[in-house]
């Protein structure tokens, strides 16, 4: 049968690769013969062949002695895919479509295997397939495909490379833990793979960043969904440990990725993962020297890097939805009616469960609040750049009053989430950190009539919870908290909510 012939061809390929080195001319000849004899000349044949090769590879893994080489067929298949992508002349179908088709077939076989086997599903051969595919691509693409003699094909392949990685990323998105829990640990290992993650981080023009943010949010969503306050399944704890290590590695290698994508990442990060949040927010751009935040003589206004606004990869204005016009109009020409529109439209349609510290549900649209706060900060920094610092370091400026009115008109819940969103911008010394430091200090010292105590408590709580955790701590949080501690206008120790709780009083005294 056709399928049996496909099995035979693939088996021959596997045997060949065990006898000759991967770059031997016989390997190229084999591929050429495969194409000339029409083994893959129709999409039906391609699909059938891919299915046959994968089923053979997975079958061979399952049947192999676990102490022997179990991945021979799988590795051979990866090498075949890469050779087909590189050696063929793409006329009817382009490379992207070709690769997508093959991976779609792989996805179907994977889904079927997973659906049929349930708990007995073994993720390892599928992991190995993608891992080896990434290794093979890296091998052949070294130094901009210098191993390819023909200049035209070399430039085609170079153009294709970001596509290659983004296609893999798209399929990893399909395999995310919420959809395929039986693949979770292989999945996390793949998104952090040495031949994938650093590549995606460093593609020219940040071409891999969107997909990477998508994958990291897939991970965070999974963690958020299954982290309950009283009961975290052991397996989810292990997921968290792995996620933490991956983020630490990213913070070390490519802090700019975390700096520029903090907004999207934090939108899906469960509140209880305080340390992980601090890891993301305390990323500092490479080669930026920052002053000691504990220096008693430090003045934030004197720090040079506060002249520059941080890059924001994803513009939060896209998340403002119906509030975009009211917010932007208010910033230009403040009016109380616009404020009312904004304040009344920050709520969700219905209550949602949440695993916050001290709360179980959320009725405000936290993503919307995060978007408003960051957008206002971005605009404020732009304003300062266009005009003067006085335009924004001014409690009468529309930038300040917009946020102030959210606090004034809001419930405790709204206030809490607005303050949290502001605290998320208190990072390394930059224009946003500087402005939000100003905003939060003034919020703390302002007279809110009967609500003063509540607002002050929310601010102190927000800052404190980010400092009492183990390190790292954000520079901007430390500086802001220190400013408040040093403030002559208000002694934190005399505040009722501090005096009422001995533990808190002790911490503040020590600080």
């Amino acid at each position: 049968t056709n399928q049996e012939r496909m099995f035979l061809v693939f088996t021959e390929w596997v045997k060949l690769l065990q006898r000759v080195p991967g770059d031997d001319v016989k390997v190229t000849v084999f591929i050429r013969q495969m194409i000339d004899k029409g083994v893959l000349n129709t999409t039906d044949n391609m699909i059938q062949f891919t299915k046959a090769a994968l089923e053979l590879s997975v079958g061979s893994f399952k049947e192999s002695d676990p102490t022997s080489e179990v991945f021979i067929a799988t590795d051979a298949f990866s090498k075949l895919i890469v050779n087909l992508l590189v050696l063929q002349d793409f006329a009817g179908m382009n490379r992207s479509e070709y690769l997508r088709l093959m991976i779609s077939v792989i996805t179907m076989v994977f889904s079927e295997d997973q659906g049929r086997m349930g708990n007995s599903f073994n993720e390892r051969p599928y992991f190995r397939l993608i891992s080896s595919l990434l290794c093979e691509w890296e091998n052949i693409s070294g130094h901009n495909f210098v191993k390819i003699q023909d200049q035209y094909y070399r430039s085609q392949l170079n153009e294709f490379t970001p596509e290659f990685y983004n296609i893999i990323a798209s399929f990893l998105h399909v395999y995310q833990p919420i959809a395929f829990p039986g693949f979770s640990f292989a999945w996390i290992t793949l998104i952090s793979h040495r031949m994938f993650l650093p590549k995606m981080l460093r593609l020219p023009e940040k071409a891999g960043w969107s997909k990477l943010v998508l994958l990291f949010t897939d991970l965070l969503k999974f963690m958020a969904q299954y982290t309950k306050k009283n009961d975290v399944p052991d397996a989810v704890s292990v997921v968290y440990k792995g996620a933490l290590r991956v983020f630490l590695a990213v913070a070390n290698d490519s802090p700019d990725f975390l700096v520029e994508n903090h907004y999207e990442l934090l939108n899906h990060l469960p509140h209880v993962y305080m340390q992980l949040r601090n890891v993301i927010l305390s990323a500092i751009p490479k080669d930026l020297a920052i002053p000691n935040p504990y220096d008693p003589n430090l003045r934030i206004d004197g720090v040079e890097s506060c002249q520059d606004a941080p890059n924001v990869f994803y513009d939060p204005v896209q998340d403002l939805k119906s509030l975009k016009k009211p917010v932007d109009n208010y910033l230009r020409i403040p009016s109380t009616s616009l404020l009312r529109v904004i304040s009344t439209n920050v709520f969700k349609q219905e209550f949602q469960k949440d695993n916050g510290i001290g709360y179980d549900t959320v009725s405000v649209d936290t993503k919307l609040i995060n978007a408003i706060v960051l957008h206002v900060g971005v605009e404020a920094a732009l304003e300062k750049h266009k005009t003067t610092a006085n335009a924004i370091f001014n409690t009468k400026s529309s930038y300040y009053t917009l946020l102030a009115s959210l606090l004034n008109d809001g419930t405790a819940e709204v206030r809490f989430h607005v303050v949290q969103a502001i605290a998320n911008q208190l990072r390394y010394p930059n224009a946003h950190t500087q402005w939000f430091n100003y905003v939060l200090k003034n919020f703390f010292l302002e007279d809110w009539d009967a609500d003063t105590a509540e607002i002050q408590e929310i601010i102190i709580r927000t800052l404190l919870e980010r400092i009492v955790t183990n390190k790292p701590h954000c520079w901007g949080i430390i500086v802001t908290f220190t400013d408040l501690l040093k403030s002559p206008e208000c002694s934190i120790l005399t505040l009722p909510f501090v005096m009422d709780i001995p533990e808190v009083e002790m911490i503040i005294k020590n600080l």
Binding site: T43, Q48, F71, R100, S111, E123, F171
Partner: protein, 205 residues
């Protein structure tokens, strides 16, 4: 989304070969749109099974299908450990070695460290007999760190020896070149006086 787009555009997806995988896959889409509130028992056990099968660093390693004959294992005593020599070690790097390559990604690998202790003979042996391999690459890197340069034309490694001359002489230093003769004598030999260094002949590593 991906498959839906492709489905619309591509007749291939009408193919019955996509079933029953497609049905299983569509089921997972349902879970994505409406994730379970708490983890159902089935999901929990699949997650645990994934944890048990978690791929390790051996699974993630680079595939090597065709094994170089020189690396065939030879019989060893049962008393020798069977463990890999590539155990991870996060010990600090020797700070006395100063070269830009000392902060590259290979400086902290165990093979990179081991090679820094090999003598030239071993490095040349690996370079010429393990062509195209990671080991050859590391040997080349180590030779570069030690000041050797690779000539693309004659495929030999060259070393520039700079001898400081006593003060008062016409020149302050004397330069002589050596090369490693891998084809005949397997020794480092002095280059003749007619040797001229041309930068373009040497590989930039």
């Amino acid at each position: 989304e991906l498959l839906a787009q492709d489905r619309a555009q591509n007749a291939a997806f009408q193919n019955p070969l996509f079933h029953p995988g497609l049905d299983h896959w569509l089921q997972t889409k349902r879970t994505l749109l409406q994730p379970h509130e708490t983890m159902p028992a089935e999901m929990a056990s699949q997650l645990e099974s994934s944890l048990l099968n978690c791929p390790d660093s051996l699974d993630a390693d680079t595939p090597h299908l065709h094994h170089n004959t020189l690396s065939l294992p030879h019989p060893t005593s049962i008393f020798f450990p069977n463990e890999t020599t590539r155990l991870v070690s996060n010990d600090p790097v020797d700070q006395t070695r100063i070269h830009p390559k000392h902060n590259d990604i290979y400086s902290r690998t165990s093979l990179g460290r081991i090679m820094s202790k090999f003598d030239l003979d071993a490095l040349f042996f690996i370079f010429y007999h393990y062509q195209g391999s990671y080991e050859q690459f590391l040997a080349a890197r180590e030779l570069t760190i030690r000041g050797w340069q690779f000539n693309k034309i004659n495929r030999c490694w060259f070393y520039k020896e700079v001898e400081k001359l006593p003060p008062g002489m016409e020149q302050s230093e004397e330069i002589s070149w050596r090369y490693f003769d891998y084809q005949k004598s397997w020794l480092a030999r002095r280059c003749g006086a007619e040797f001229v260094y041309r930068e373009e002949e040497f590989e930039r590593i």
